[in-house]
């Protein structure tokens, strides 16, 4: 089954902190999974390992049957072009317009300008911000900035979408809107993994929930697809 597999994964940092310990979990392609747990439970480390911002101390992570821990540095860009990432703090470039921020993954991939414009406008339209494409991020509200971040994450149609506390700075109403966008994206066949500690919100979504505690899996509502 292609997808994501964590096989007895452990991560210990240089300062001795054990962020993940013997985590084994399988995530089917096209599914939506919420990672939850308290601060320091290992949610962000889980996502950073998938992004290959960190490497495992032991165990392996397979993505589409490829051990990403063994990826050569020169292969990392190709791998990351198949991922989309949404951050809690948006990480938008303040000196570039909304359009240019969303276009970034496509320009990195060398997509033609006409196709870039078409896809950027499509992504902005899907998050309801098409009319703000020429604005700078600082002129937008927190919710709008987060939606720009989502548009940037999905604009290159990634196979896997990772989101780290995407609703952390949003009010409940906006949080639901943002989660709705993720669900729409899941409908396109991509795998969506969201780290969040907003239990009430994610329970409402009715998707699979993996609960992390002290770097271990404390609960899993089960496989879905």
């Amino acid at each position: 089954m292609p997808g994501i597999e964590f096989l007895s994964v452990g991560k210990r940092f240089d300062n001795g902190t054990e962020a993940l310990a013997d985590v084994s979990v399988s995530i089917a392609e096209g599914s939506m999974v919420f990672l939850t747990g308290h601060s320091g439970a290992g949610k962000s480390t889980f996502l950073r390992l998938l992004l290959r911002l960190e490497t495992t101390t032991h165990g392996r992570i397979l993505v589409n049957d490829v051990d990403i821990g063994r990826l050569a540095p020169r292969r990392l860009p190709c791998y990351r072009r198949h991922l989309g990432v949404v951050f809690q703090d948006h990480q938008l470039l303040g000196e570039r317009t909304v359009f240019d921020n969303v276009a970034l993954p496509l320009r990195v991939a060398g997509t033609r300008e006409r196709e870039t414009a078409r896809r950027v406008r499509g992504a902005l339209s899907s998050v309801g911000l098409l009319e703000k494409e020429r604005m700078l991020p600082r002129t937008l509200s927190a919710g709008e900035r987060q939606r720009v971040g989502i548009a940037r994450a999905v604009v290159n149609r990634p196979k896997i979408l990772l989101a780290d506390e995407p609703t952390g700075n949003l009010d409940p109403g906006l949080s639901k809107t943002v989660m709705g966008l993720f669900r729409v994206f899941k409908g396109t066949g991509s795998t969506v993994i969201i780290a969040s500690h907003d239990i009430a919100l994610i329970q409402d979504m009715g998707e699979r929930i993996v609960d992390l505690a002290a770097g271990r899996i404390a609960g899993d509502t089960g496989t879905n697809s």
């Binding site: 490829v66 292969r75 860009p77 990195v108 060398g110």
Partner: protein, 328 residues
């Protein structure tokens, strides 16, 4: 749900099969470069004051070796011009038969390296002496011509001092020749000065070139620090190292070539300031001022040199600072 590590072994795939490197159309590559260049200029426009300071620092660092090079080029030109009239003089014994110097002059003109032989008879020498020294009456009081016949030989600029000395020694040993005097002193001094100047230019250029690299490197490093969030983001969305480093590489080249332009302006200003006194000095020797070395080729080489130094500085800074960014 959980699997043991062994279960995944049979279906392991190669990354290149799953995430192949897509070929990048040349138009996209060209567009990337143009966009990066535009963004680099925008960065410079935003940080114009610090950029001006960097250009000035690099300009001063490059101006000194450039000035030394121009001085060396002019010394070389002076040496070339002066060597064109180098040679030796052979003085014959007084009262010798006039056919001996004439035959000797004819034979000397056939020697390799000798470009011109001028025979000055005692009468011609006397007339020249009287005309130049203005002491004709004193010479006339002697009642006889005391001056010997003289041969002035001019040699080719290509021959070395050894060959010149050998020719003079051969002349001195010839029948009827009293003395042969070689005119190499200034040639040798000038050659020695040029050698010292060339080495000083080399040392100064190496030290100040290193300084220019360090200035570029530090400036590019500051630029990287100010754009670290962007760099990390680019790495996360799949930019390769070349894509990430390109703006900083361009910035280094702009810093370096801008510094070289400032160096050329400083040098040009200095030469304009020195032009009048130099012209007066040359005029006192009956020469016009023709400065060598400061020409379009030199300016192009200076710009290229600045650009290369900037590129080296940028490559060093980006290699050091970016090697660990988002590439675990």
């Amino acid at each position: 749900m959980s699997k043991s590590p062994q279960t995944a072994e049979p279906h392991a795939k190669r990354p290149a099969q799953v995430w192949p490197a897509e070929p990048r159309p040349w138009r996209a590559a060209w567009r990337d470069r143009v966009r990066t260049l535009r963004e680099s200029y925008a960065f410079i426009a935003r940080n114009w004051l610090s950029t001006l300071l960097v250009w000035l620092l690099i300009g001063i660092a490059l101006a000194l070796p450039a000035a030394l090079y121009v001085i060396d080029a002019n010394l070389a030109r002076a040496a070339r011009d002066w060597r064109g009239s180098v040679g030796f003089s052979a003085y014959f014994e007084p009262g010798i038969d006039s056919t001996v110097p004439a035959e000797f002059a004819e034979a000397l003109a056939q020697e390799p390296g000798v470009v011109h032989v001028e025979l000055v008879t005692p009468d011609e020498a006397l007339a020249e002496f009287q005309g130049r020294a203005g002491i004709g009456e004193a010479v006339a009081a002697l009642g006889r011509n005391p001056l010997p016949a003289t041969i002035r030989a001019t040699v080719s600029p290509g021959i070395g001092p050894e060959r010149l000395r050998a020719l003079a020694q051969g002349a001195a040993a010839s029948q009827g020749v009293d003395e042969a005097v070689v005119e190499t002193t200034w040639l040798e001094r000038l050659a020695a000065i040029r050698e010292v100047a060339a080495r000083v230019v080399g040392i100064v250029a190496a030290l100040l070139g290193l300084g220019a690299i360090l200035i570029c490197s530090a400036s590019v490093r500051l630029a990287i620090e100010s754009r670290l969030a962007e760099v990390t983001l680019l790495a996360l969305v799949g930019a390769d190292k070349r894509f990430i480093r390109r703006p900083f590489f361009y910035l280094g080249v702009i810093y370096g070539s801008g510094g070289a332009l400032v160096a050329a302006m400083l040098l040009s200003g200095s030469l304009m300031w020195l032009e009048e006194p130099l012209a007066r000095l040359f005029a006192s020797y009956g020469e016009g001022l023709h400065l060598a070395g400061f020409d379009p080729t030199f300016l192009l080489a200076l710009l290229l040199c600045g650009g290369v130094l900037g590129a080296i500085g940028a490559a060093t800074a980006s290699h050091q600072r970016l090697k660990s960014v988002a590439y675990a």
